[in-house]
């Protein structure tokens, strides 16, 4: 493809993102659920434990980004299969990559918006952001990474939204327990630390610790965190495109 074609497709991806936001994200319940579900989960696990508030906020931040960016992206494909909108998109001059990129962009914007909740919550408790630029970079990278991950959940050629939700829950829940959210990675046994390495959530949580709690609070270095998130993003996005290319014909 030529540069001109690529910028054309990029603009069309933005159109898809705009459509997603209008239809799937700008809904009261979606926004409220996006804010409340990580907060409640977090409180449920942390209640009564005597932990510093900046540790808690950093963990909540990682979890919020994770939940927000994987919440809606997986259900778009099954919903649009059911409503036949997918046929409309399939007839349009856009590639599958463009469509998925559009879905990712919408999810990223939603994730970034929701991530302000823990930041504001932290401020209310007097937790300041020590490294705002690093945090910003981490949030953007992580929302991209988790949004792409969300698209993998919907690659099964089904039009049943609840089965996609179940697949996504079955992956999401175990991940939050191996990613150093409730227990710092340094306190984990060696098998736990090994396992944590394979969760992208580990790196954004680690980056949040560094950003909120100060330079010494991170387990990995900032460049490892950012690098790992980038690698996961590339893997997830490539996998999502390949899988959807395979499953799209079966949806139509």
């Amino acid at each position: 493809m030529m540069a001109h074609d690529i910028s054309d497709q990029m603009r069309r991806a933005c159109a898809i993102a705009k459509k997603d936001i209008r239809i799937y994200y700008l809904l009261g319940p979606v926004i409220i659920f996006g804010i409340l579900s990580p907060t409640f989960l977090f409180l449920a696990f942390m209640m009564g434990k005597d932990l510093p508030v900046d540790f808690l906020i950093a963990g909540l931040m990682g979890m919020t980004i994770f939940f927000a960016s994987t919440s809606v992206a997986p259900v778009i494909a099954p919903i649009e299969t059911q409503s036949r909108n997918l046929e409309r998109i399939a007839a349009a001059p856009v590639t599958i990559t463009t469509v998925l990129l559009g879905d990712v962009l919408a999810s990223v914007l939603f994730g970034i918006l929701i991530s302000f909740v823990p930041i504001l919550l932290g401020m209310a408790f007097g937790v300041m952001v020590a490294h705002p630029l690093t945090l910003a970079a981490g949030i953007v990278l992580a929302t991209f990474c988790f949004s792409a991950m969300g698209l993998i959940f919907s690659a099964a050629p089904t039009s049943i939204t609840s089965s996609v939700m179940m697949i996504s829950m079955m992956v999401k829940f175990p991940l939050i327990f191996v990613s150093g959210i409730f227990i710092p990675i340094s306190d984990l046994p060696s098998w736990g630390r090994a396992l944590a390495m394979f969760s992208p959530l580990t790196y954004i949580t680690d980056l949040c610790r560094y950003s909120f709690q100060g330079t010494d609070a991170g387990y990995y270095s900032v460049s490892v965190d950012l690098g790992a998130l980038t690698v996961f993003l590339v893997i997830f996005m490539t996998a999502a495109i390949k899988l959807h290319e395979r499953s799209l014909p079966e949806r139509l």
């Binding site: 036949r84 046929e87 409309r88 007839a91 001059p93």
Partner: protein
């Protein structure tokens, strides 16, 4: 005239079923090309392959020189698609659906706004432009779906049963719109169950059955193709029943229709003179006498009613 659609040996298998079975045809620039066939014949499957929605099992499709599989973006950019069932976004307003289409096809904002206003006005939807599509009736949705397909000002417009289930007025509006577009140079590929619609609109029709093309020609030529057979319709001054008629060798079938008799014959001329003789010999006068040429429906029934199980 150059061909804008070229289809070669196109095939689509669903497991053991050949939904489309090696069909080849061309559509010329400026034509209204009709695609007729009974339920399950493979019309929708063909349209979906031509518009790049599903992949053929084998064969080649070229849209204005671009292979739909080799150059899908360029090919799709040139066409508009009206599917069998509306696929507008129910949660978006009519206006936003049209704008989304424009953005998907890279139509600039100013052009898109003008075109959307024009189309909404033409289809009587302008007053409802800001309401969500889920509140629309079937006919309104259908008109919006057509408007959506026209947002990129396509060279070729594909319509899959665009008037099915619509009231007479909406159906007329859509037929008028197809004529206008065609006069302005748009090539139209139309599938329909309405013979009269195909007869009025199409410069050529293909009749497809069990995934194969049974015939492809201009409607009038197709009608002559089912032999020189014609109906002769006659009524007399006093009633005549089928059994009263003398044996007429050229007549294959006689049926009564109200106060008239209809004779199916391959020699209308001599049949008419025999009828005149009969009237004279029985002291009757002929009140009316007409010849009825076969309709597209007769052709369709003859070509598709082959007794094979669907």
């Amino acid at each position: 005239m150059k061909n804008v659609i070229e289809v070669t040996e196109l095939r689509k298998n669903y497991n053991a079923l050949a939904a489309v079975d090696s069909i080849s045809f061309e559509v010329e620039e400026g034509e209204v090309f009709g695609f007729l066939g009974p339920n399950g014949a493979g019309k929708t499957t063909t349209v979906r392959m031509l518009t790049g929605i599903i992949k053929p099992t084998s064969g080649r499709i070229s849209i204005m020189g671009f292979g739909i599989e080799q150059d899908p973006i360029k090919a799709k950019q040139l066409i508009g698609v009206v599917p069998e069932l509306s696929n507008a976004y129910n949660e978006l307003s009519a206006w936003n659906n049209l704008q989304f289409m424009a953005e998907l096809y890279g139509v600039s904002g100013r052009v898109a706004r003008g075109r959307a206003e024009e189309l909404l006005t033409k289809f009587d939807l302008y007053d409802r432009r800001d309401t969500k599509v889920k509140t629309f009736s079937k006919g309104m949705k259908q008109k919006l779906t057509i408007a959506m397909a026209l947002m990129n000002d396509p060279e070729i417009l594909f319509l899959d049963e665009p008037t099915s289930g619509l009231d007479v007025r909406s159906a007329r509006l859509i037929k008028k719109m197809m004529r206008e577009l065609n006069n302005a140079g748009t090539t139209i590929f139309l599938t329909t169950h309405y013979m009269e619609e195909a007869n009025q609109l199409c410069s050529r029709v293909a009749i497809i059955n069990h995934g194969r093309i049974a015939a492809i020609d201009a409607p009038e030529k197709l009608k002559t193709r089912i032999g020189g057979l014609e109906w002769v319709e006659v009524s007399f001054s006093t009633p005549v029943t089928v059994s009263d008629l003398p044996d007429l060798p050229q007549v294959l079938e006689v049926r009564s229709s109200g106060d008239k008799l209809q004779l199916y014959t391959d020699e209308p001329g001599s049949t008419i003179s025999r009828l005149v003789d009969y009237a004279r010999s029985t002291d009757r006068t002929i009140v009316t006498l007409n010849t009825l040429t076969p309709t597209l429906e007769d052709v369709f029934i003859k070509l598709t009613g082959d007794g094979r199980a669907g």
